[in-house]
């Protein structure tokens, strides 16, 4: 490729990305968080531009073309990553976003992650729910210097992040969907238990490999790539290494998902599974990054029976905890979908089952807002308020300290009311609403309650500081 043409293309791309980020940054944003993200991206872009210009000069002599070529490709990768990160923040000011939820989510996230957090919300074009920690993502990309500079005014250096909460555009108004935040925060909380989780992973993978040794052997043989100039033994070794890497990554991801599920179950019980059902359409289909929904549901059920027996036995949740799919594709015939990694899913299932007991022990170290003797009374009271169209926070004791536990109990109560067939049917009949309207009203009441509790918490903190 003509290098001068390649250089010009890359410089044009940098200019164009810079203009687009600067244009969106100039819009009037209601909150400062997106600006911090844009400032970081513009600073990274400016740095990459000056370094690329330096490379063009430095590699201009004869015989240095390879160096320039590879630097150009690496810079292009950086531009792709900047564009991806920009995609996290360029739709954060949609009028359809329920901004009222931001402060409440920041409050609970800071509490569970033990890190100062602010939240920005974006509508995701994909049908998905995610939370991305900008600090962690930008650190992985080696952009931490620019991040620290851009956020100096917003929070303490080093332990401050902006969480970008993404949820499906179609569900912009569904407040109850935010029970899924418990699962996403579960991913971020993993860093607090790295050593224990590593040990669990090692043992679980060892046990699963031992149990499925024949299957794995077949997988290796099936994937040997015979090529000219490569000896049979070397091709086998190559295939074996590829299997080890794929299985290792699958174990990292699947155990990460299961642990996040257990954290979510700790915080909101089966409510996150109810929210999960709104999003995930293919309950039974595993992938290299996610275990099948049926397996996750079963593991959560076992955990809840062990830790929160009364919650697990509550008839309201039985549908959520026992939902099955027509057939479990884990054990279906291989040729059906042509997925060559199918054997690894069976091993992954064993890894998750092997790890469950010890993962549960780690999750149990996180206090559960549902582990309170009067949970039933609290939930009943909240449901009474919902039934009478009053925010469910109205009945909380004003003199008691307001903690993030109330956030999760509200989410729990909101879903509990929604899934209580008898009560929900009566609610609809009394107000002449259909399912959609009634759910929307429950969401609104929960949102007002969350806002009210966060304000009460701020007020209590202010008074404590004053005293």
């Amino acid at each position: 490729m003509d290098s001068s043409w390649q250089v010009r293309c890359l410089q044009d791309r940098i200019q164009s990305l810079n203009s687009e980020i600067a244009r969106v940054r100039q819009k009037d944003h209601p909150y400062p968080e997106p600006n911090a993200i844009f400032r970081t991206l513009l600073a990274v872009l400016s740095d990459r531009q000056s370094r690329f210009d330096k490379a063009v000069k430095r590699y201009s002599s004869a015989g240095r073309e390879r160096l320039l070529e590879e630097t150009a490709l690496t810079t292009a990768t950086q531009l792709d990553e900047i564009a991806e990160a920009f995609g996290l923040a360029d739709r954060v000011d949609s009028a359809r976003i329920p901004f009222e939820i931001l402060r409440a989510v920041s409050w609970v996230a800071s509490s569970i992650l033990e890190e100062a957090c602010r939240v920005a919300v974006r509508l995701d074009g994909a049908y998905n729910y995610s939370i991305v920690s900008c600090r962690r993502r930008f650190t992985r990309l080696r952009w931490n210097k620019f991040w620290d500079e851009a956020t100096r005014e917003l929070g303490p250096e080093g332990r401050f992040t902006i969480l970008v909460l993404g949820f499906p555009s179609a569900h912009a108004n569904s407040i109850l969907l935010h029970a899924l935040a418990a699962h996403e925060l579960g991913h971020l909380v993993r860093g607090r238990f790295t050593e224990e989780l590593e040990e669990i992973r090692t043992k679980a993978v060892e046990a699963a490999k031992h149990r499925h040794s024949e299957l794995l052997q077949e997988y290796i043989l099936d994937n040997v790539r015979r090529r000219e100039g490569v000896l049979g033994r070397d091709a086998y070794d190559e295939s074996s290494r590829r299997m080890e890497a794929r299985l290792g990554q699958l174990a990292d991801d699947w155990l990460g998902e299961v642990f996040a599920d257990l954290v979510a179950a700790t915080l909101v019980g089966p409510a996150f599974l109810a929210a999960f059902d709104e999003i995930v359409l293919e309950l039974g289909k595993p992938s290299l990054t996610h275990p099948p929904g049926t397996l996750r549901r079963g593991l959560v059920k076992e955990y809840l029976q062990q830790r929160l027996q009364k919650v697990a036995d509550d008839a309201v949740w039985s549908g959520v905890l026992q939902r099955e799919v027509a057939s479990d594709p884990l054990f279906g015939p291989r040729e059906v979908d042509g997925d060559p990694d199918r054997p690894l899913y069976s091993v992954g299932q064993t890894i998750c089952r092997e790890g469950l007991r010890e993962l549960s022990a780690v999750a149990m170290r996180i206090p559960s807002p549902l582990e309170t003797a009067d949970l039933k009374k609290i939930v009943d009271q909240m449901e009474d308020h919902i039934e009478h169209l009053s925010p469910p926070s109205a009945g909380l004791d004003d003199s008691a300290p307001i903690t993030p536990d109330e956030f999760w109990r509200l989410m729990y109560a909101g879903w509990h009311f929604r899934l209580n067939d008898e009560r929900f049917a009566e609610f609809k009949t009394n107000n002449a609403w259909d399912d959609g309207n009634a759910e929307h009203v429950i969401g609104n009441l929960v949102m007002h309650a969350l806002e009210s509790m966060e304000l009460r918490h701020q007020w209590q903190k202010y008074r404590e500081n004053k005293e």
Partner: protein, 148 residues
């Protein structure tokens, strides 16, 4: 990670590739006798690349058939990197070479931070740059394939 498997995460090798490219640039400045042009980030990248090479060496020596259960996320990540970059091109070097260049990069870094750049041997700069460039080519080839 998002609740379903749609892509919204970053390329796991993008940061490593960028650091390696900065290290290559710093080494080029040394090769051309322009050590004054090396900034703090290029100096830091030389050290970080040394650490990554040592991790790659450690990962390539994990016992065969037991790599998936290796303890230590960093070594495991390096093992995944080795497998990913060896898909379409031969791995840049064997463990002794990775260790040797890693150690040379550490020495280069040490001399740069203690303002003794004149003592750095050109042969070790060229050797290190050659290996880093090959590594970068492997990382970029993987990226090009992935984006097709």
């Amino acid at each position: 990670m998002p609740i379903t498997s749609a892509r919204s995460s970053d390329d796991p090798y993008a940061g490593f590739a960028w650091t390696t490219s900065l290290a290559v640039m710093g080494l080029e400045s040394l090769r051309q006798g322009l050590s004054v042009d090396i900034d703090t980030e290029e100096t830091a990248a030389i050290l970080e690349t040394a650490q990554e090479l040592e991790l790659l060496s450690e990962a390539s020596q994990l016992p065969a058939g037991a790599q998936a259960q290796a303890t230590g996320p960093e070594v495991r990540r390096s093992f995944y990197t080795l497998v990913a970059i060896a898909q379409d091109r031969p791995t840049p070097a064997a463990p002794p070479e990775l260790d040797r260049v890693g150690s040379e990069l550490r020495q280069i870094h040490g001399k740069l931070v203690s303002q003794r750049a004149a003592e750095i041997e050109l042969s070790s700069v060229e050797r290190a740059q050659k290996l880093c460039l090959e590594l970068l080519e492997n990382l970029n080839t993987r990226r090009r394939k992935a984006s097709l």
